[in-house]
Symmetry: C3
Subunit: 374 residues, 3 copies
């Protein structure tokens, strides 16, 4: 199944090498993100394309003409600017720094495919619930309650009808249990302590086993003291591929995007901007995004440059696909969309509750980019 890891790595290495302007220009041509950033760099340093150039000139004039409010203000970066302009430059520098740092390296990467052991035709997944430090963005480490030491948990991806065994070992200081959110399982596999099973005590191991009943984008997470345990990271994607996928589901890039807003702040797949993972596709490719909200708030996800075609809700196909550019994802919901990557460039992609995505220090939290490479 296709993934965007390679693209993201390329992108990552690119970003890491853009320490000097020269290196940047040399590497930029390899990737649309480079190209995208390049445009900004050019303009910022005054070497702008035709349209920008006019701008720069007229703005210089404009600045000269402003008088009072602005004082004699040279818009180039090298000028000694009066206080308001200097403040604007200082703010812009913070904004630029964040964007240039994207995608920033951090320790730990969640939501990676978990390969099962096969025992007599059963796919066996071992999950250890444990507390680890987690780097949400460069230098910010938090306490995370995890499955196998990552946030989100490793991605489980199976097929409709598979026999699956999940072996949960609890190394947390609290009891826990796993609910397979969206799967229509036999009651005793539903993972709700005192209703369908006993709590799994610290030190205990508990086994779930079932035949996967329904396809779609589902989740697994703690259902014990869950406001705390899910908030701290005990959550992951449980993807069930259908036996007979619909034509619209045949995509080139398949991206799972788990939204959270708990103790770790505003995150996509356990990371905050600039440490969020960009989505990379080539021009003309079809991208599927599987939104999952594991938080406590809604997050209307706005993609720039291209619309999103909504195909499924909670793993169930919609009666007819419909289009939007901003899709509101509520806690516990999953929405699947397809994006036809027809518009090249680096596109901002963020929650449109603006305080979840930007402050006067720049972009943060629920921001990433869709990079459509030529």
């Amino acid at each position: 199944m296709p993934t965007d890891t390679k693209g993201a790595d390329l992108l990552h290495s690119l970003a890491q090498t853009t320490t000097s302007r020269r290196t940047f220009l040399r590497t930029a041509s390899l990737s649309a993100v480079g190209a995208g950033a390049l445009v900004a760099c050019n303009k910022a340093s005054g070497e702008a394309p035709v349209q920008g150039a006019t701008t720069a000139r007229s703005s210089a004039t404009a600045a000269g003409a402003t008088g009072g409010t602005m004082g004699a203000h040279d818009t180039s970066h090298n000028a000694v600017a009066p206080s308001p302009a200097a403040q604007a430059d200082a703010m812009d520098a913070m904004h630029e720094k964040g964007i240039k740092a994207f995608p920033a390296r951090t320790e730990g990467k969640g939501n990676q495919l978990l390969q099962p052991r096969i025992e007599k035709g059963v796919k066996v997944y071992d999950l250890t619930a444990k507390v680890v430090p987690w780097e949400v963005e460069p230098g910010r480490r938090v306490e995370a309650w995890t499955y196998n030491g990552v946030v989100p948990a490793p991605q489980i991806r199976v097929r409709e009808g598979d026999r699956v065994r999940v072996v949960l070992r609890n190394e947390l200081p609290e009891s826990t249990a796993i609910h397979f959110h969206g799967l229509e399982l036999p009651n005793d596999q539903d993972g709700v302590p005192f209703i369908t099973q006993p709590p799994v005590k610290p030190g205990q191991t508990y086994t779930y086993e079932f035949t996967v009943p329904n396809a779609g984008s589902h989740m697994y997470h703690s259902h014990h003291n869950s406001a705390k345990q899910v908030g701290l990271g005990l959550l992951g994607a449980f993807i069930v591929e259908p036996k007979r996928p619909a034509a619209i589901e045949k995509v080139d890039v398949d991206h799972v995007m788990i939204l959270n807003d708990g103790a770790h702040g505003y995150t996509f797949n356990g990371k905050s901007f600039p440490a969020t993972e960009p989505i990379v596709a080539r021009l003309g490719q079809k991208l599927r995004i599987r939104y999952m909200n594991e938080g406590m708030m809604i997050h209307p996800m706005h993609l720039h440059g291209m619309h999103q075609t909504v195909i499924a809700k909670d793993g169930w196909m919609q009666p007819a696909p419909w289009k939007c550019d901003t899709l509101n994802i509520a806690p516990g919901e999953r929405w699947d969309v397809v994006v036809n990557c027809t518009n090249p460039g680096t596109w901002a992609f963020h929650c449109h509750i603006l305080p979840h995505a930007e402050s006067d220090h720049g972009m943060f939290g629920m921001v990433t980019a869709l990079v459509v490479e030529k």
Copy 2:
């Protein structure tokens, strides 16, 4: 029209009789909820079915093997456990207590069908707005502003085309008025003081009369100082049955579920878990849930074990039914869903904004269960 009252009462009496483990076992066989709880009891006390048994054994071993972090840990409830395990047990005991108390008896039950007086073919409903104490959960009594002393108000259920008279007597310390939310009434029956009528002063009686224009799941509530008056309980369901119901509307159980989050806390039909009312259906039955949000926040309602088929919004049929397991209900909205009860057992059913449903003291607020009886 079918209701789930009988089932709920059975369930209730069951829960009330489970004071001793022996009594519990004796009565449990009568009901799936008993059976569901039984499974948990069994496992909790180590008498688990095959799969759980392995678990228990391995976990015992695991506990023994953990050393440092856990110490020698006996997983049975009666052991003197080292501090982390003891803390886990203490937390679990609180969680278990809440679930075993469900459905807990409280004084007062809202949303019960109100039988009209018939005067010359007109269905007459007498509503008295008054302040009463209201027991939201065992032992927690709040001040409620009510119609006829209950929260939610008595359920009004009529047919499209019926002639209806609502006689409102105001015994509140404030003026008030009734808005029939969702009904397309003549302007002077719309219930908005100073726009369509004068306020109904304390001590006054005011009469609304109209022919019911449109079918669906509607509401009635105060439209005067409403943030306070609705928040305190002046709200109820106004169901209009269609002259020609669609095939998909022919169900076995019809359940109205009013969500609120005001001064009384997080409630379903005026009660907080464990005092919420379970929904009971038999295997193979069709259940209709009429969600109504009278609060100030969204509540994404997540049903375990079976999907929900969305058929209507605000009383209007959707162009095509669509499926989900988590349905986001916003203030003022009504959503009708149908659940095919194909999966036996006791299923958690809650708002998926987890802090509305669980704390480290256990489940509370917006939690109930769907019981599918074999």
Copy 3:
């Protein structure tokens, strides 16, 4: 293209002339809002239609007996009313005052159509970003960051395929940029500093130019320090009329309704009730409402008296129209609905998160009215 400005102005002048009861009665017959208000006045003063009469007589008696504010108040239930009745009257007086003041005059009106300069077939729009005082409701002035001095910004309305140039002059103390939210533009016109362009510094002028790619109800707003800049007013409607409108889009009244909840409080088109603009249509007309949420919170918009038929999301037609009376609008979303104005009168129209619309001092914030004139 039809607009409701004329109607609103008529309505406005009406409200302004209702200084005396006699003038009010004389002018009221010209407009349904007069009639609407009249009903309330009549009832309040006892001249009520048949049905209200019973009620109103008692209240009229009461009114007659009150003297001053309340005095000895006979509620027709023979009680000498204590202070609670006086308190109720005092509260009602505040509520009445707000509604009688509607629509209240304030300085400044946003969202008015901006006529472009035509240069060689290009529609050129000049926008100056600047800080101005803004009157949100009578007497409440706030600091607003605006395009051309108004909140929302002037409405840009073009046709699919038009060539458009937007010349932004920045007179703010901060850098800024314009994102055309919903338009699928070439990457370098997307308006995100450091990703697609440099920030536009104070004193600078920057030019955007593009061919309008996709029809629908879109927006333009700042995408730099946006949580602050959009919150303070740098936002407006960017409507793109389709080359081939669908039959359902052919309406008599086309109303844009921008919701906001930032530093200026709860507003529709930059104003809070009673300074919000009523929507006026004649009986039988078709009304289109283009909801746009530029805030940080959801706003479920509830129209009284008539349902809303949802036709488009974010400028894209829905696969099939669907009906509701309360439509939840999330930040960044646009929803287009059509209302068949079949029910005459003055209809409350508000956000159903009640604390956004009413307090014990009366209606405020996100409240307006749809006036269907006979």
